[in-house]
């Protein structure tokens, strides 16, 4: 009878085979997740679009950051250390004391917040030399993003008792309106050589 010839399959080598596969996957695996500063590039301006004066921005509404080829910073025409940049940028975006030389403020209706007295679209303009090192450029970007993030976190904690990243979608939108994303990558001017 066929029943008698059925002997158990020898599974002793199963472990060996599995080990082999395991080692293969162990070697080929890369666990690293890609992290980075996510940004949106501006659209290319249309060829026929003239420089219209309507979107000319007042000087007090612009925070000019220049980085030269020696990786030195010039912020609002004053040399500055990178460590002070975050504080300065926060001051600029929020303008807590309604200072003359910082961005204009206006009263705005926002969901959750009601009517608030906030800055009217401040812009941070970052310009760099062709010789600036990429590392420095990212550091400056990082500081500016951090300034915005800290302000958003502050207001989120004050209003909702949670950090910005933990808010619901509609709350996030409200906070985004409170402190809009302000970093503008200026049309690159090809300043400087290598």
């Amino acid at each position: 009878m066929g029943k008698k010839e059925l002997s158990p399959i020898n599974a002793g080598s199963m472990a060996d085979i599995a080990f082999l596969l395991l080692i293969f996957f162990l070697i080929t695996t890369t666990m690293d997740v890609d992290t980075g500063l996510q940004r949106r590039l501006p659209r290319l301006p249309d060829e026929d679009q003239q420089e219209d004066s309507s979107d000319k921005i007042k000087e007090r509404n612009v925070f000019v950051v220049l980085v030269n080829k020696h990786d030195e910073l010039l912020v609002e025409s004053k040399p500055m250390d990178i460590h002070q940049l975050r504080q300065k940028a926060k001051e600029f975006i929020a303008n807590p004391n309604n200072a003359e030389n910082l961005p204009e403020k206006e009263i705005k209706e926002l969901p959750y917040f009601g009517s608030v007295f906030i800055t009217k679209n401040p812009v941070i303009s970052l310009t760099n030399d062709r010789g600036t090192s990429y590392g420095m450029y990212i550091r400056v970007q990082n500081e500016l993003v951090a300034a915005k993030q800290e302000l958003r976190d502050d207001i989120s904690i004050q209003q909702f008792g949670a950090k910005f990243d933990e808010l619901t979608e509609s709350q996030t939108d409200a906070v985004k309106n409170y402190y809009p994303s302000v970093l503008s990558e200026a049309e690159p001017k090809n300043i400087g050589g290598k």
Partner: protein, 156 residues
Amino acid sequence: MSRFSKKEKKSTGQINTASLPDIVFMLLFFFMTTTVMKEVNLMITVKVPDATEARKLEKKSLVSYIYMGQPLRSFQKMFGTEPRIQLNDQFKNVVDIADFIAQERDAMDENDRNKMTVSLKIDSDTRMGTVIDVKQSLRRAQALKISYSARKVEEL
């Protein structure tokens, strides 16, 4: 005394390895599911800068990579020491980026095309000049969502 020694002798039996394959299989499945095959063979050195605000990039299938940095030692004879751009497995120039983006976009699902992100893996010693050129050609290719690849750190 003899009672103790007797006991010891008895306990040194063979370890039961019947569950070994199960354990190994479990590990195997873990690695099989988490594994991501190496995307490219890097021919340049890329040490991305550090940043405290770096965020995780979601959905790897929507991300294309542009590498930039100094060629590795073995390639320096042919390609020099100036930072070069690497797309997939080849050294390329700025002008090739438009084609690369078009290619990557074609390979993507139609619904996902506008969600495409370009991750710029650029060595921190690279000069901004080339980076600007790359960014401009990305703008021309309508690939506006980018990510400056950076290592997440708590403190700079």
